[in-house]
Symmetry: C2
């Protein structure tokens, strides 16, 4: 099965091939794919071999075929309906972002606890009272939850989501969630990236 670093480059390759597809470019070179992911062309070819993809030497990869292969492998054409909990500054930005739709994400409901926010429109969705979440998640059979509430509320929200039938969580709160083994969790931890960037600055200044 594909190693994590290779897997994480695939969406970058996808971004380029779908751009090239829009521009009707028949082929995409491993060199260009490498530039977009900051790796040598040989690394690109190794990554794509996990998908059973081989390019034509001197030409590259068939743009359309590679695009479809990446979409299938990454599940991008599968609709993933999600509820978003916590419609604060970050939650609102996520809810309004058009860029996730091309990965199959469809935010089907917004939930909050703040009476001042309940009933407000964000894009085409109305913010609902979080007490309605279990019923709606079950009825709509939603499998994914996006957590954008403050740290201290996150574990409780996760448990509520899981009890309602959620099995995939995209977590933006700076806490490590405790969940049953069958639940997939992706932690989005901007602070970790800021801290590693901070460390790189220390290293550079000491060099």
């Amino acid at each position: 099965s594909i190693p994590q670093p290779s897997l994480r480059r695939l969406p970058l390759y996808y971004r380029l091939v779908s751009l090239n597809h829009d521009k009707k470019l028949a082929y995409t070179s491993s060199r260009d794919l490498g530039l977009t992911a900051n790796v040598p062309a040989a690394r690109v070819r190794k990554d794509l071999s996990y998908l059973g993809e081989r390019g034509r030497p001197g030409v590259g990869y068939d743009t359309e075929l590679l695009m479809q292969r990446l979409e299938t492998f990454l599940g991008l054409i599968n609709d993933k309906e999600a509820v978003l909990v916590g419609v604060g500054n970050l939650g609102r930005a996520l809810a309004l972002y058009p860029g996730f739709a091309r990965y199959g994400l469809k935010i089907a409901g917004l939930f909050d606890i703040d009476p001042a926010k309940i009933g407000q429109m964000v894009g085409t969705l109305k913010i609902m009272d979080q007490s309605r979440l279990p019923d709606l998640v079950r009825r709509w059979r939603i499998q994914m939850g996006i957590i954008a509430v403050p740290a201290q509320a996150a574990q409780g929200v996760a448990e509520k989501l899981i009890r309602s039938g959620i099995s995939v969580i995209w977590n933006f709160a700076p806490v490590t969630l405790v969940v049953p083994p069958y639940v997939l969790v992706k932690d989005e931890d901007l602070a970790v990236d800021l801290a590693t960037l901070s460390h790189q600055i220390v290293e550079r200044d000491q060099a």
Copy 2:
């Protein structure tokens, strides 16, 4: 030098030790550190050995000492002044977020191109015209820029920042920036995380 996966766990350890420090707990166990980073205790000890840290068997790590060691290693107490460019939905959320200050980040200026936004207050900062950026970055000697503009504007903004003296970029736009080798860039790519989560769902459904 410390491997990337170990480096990325250090901020999670820091989160726990600083919490324990607030609670005045003298020791922090490698077991608890492991739970917060989803790794075994032995892995924690290996990670912290890169900092020259050894715990006391059966007791753990001196909370205060470990906290200070992590702060130094990660450069968290060093003030990092930054300008943020692109005060849209995401930029506004980042500008208002109090959680980055504990990592030493201080957003010193907000810039946009939209006349409707210029002059607006976001927290304690007034949004400025992006034409004023070069002058202010040079005068204030700002070393870091945060890019939260649309994809098509990002490369131009990066070049403008670099010409003004910026040498560290935290990039939230879904593009691979082309910069001189001395510039540190951290790409914050939420779409990559969504795509890898999507792939995990595919794998789980096929299992």
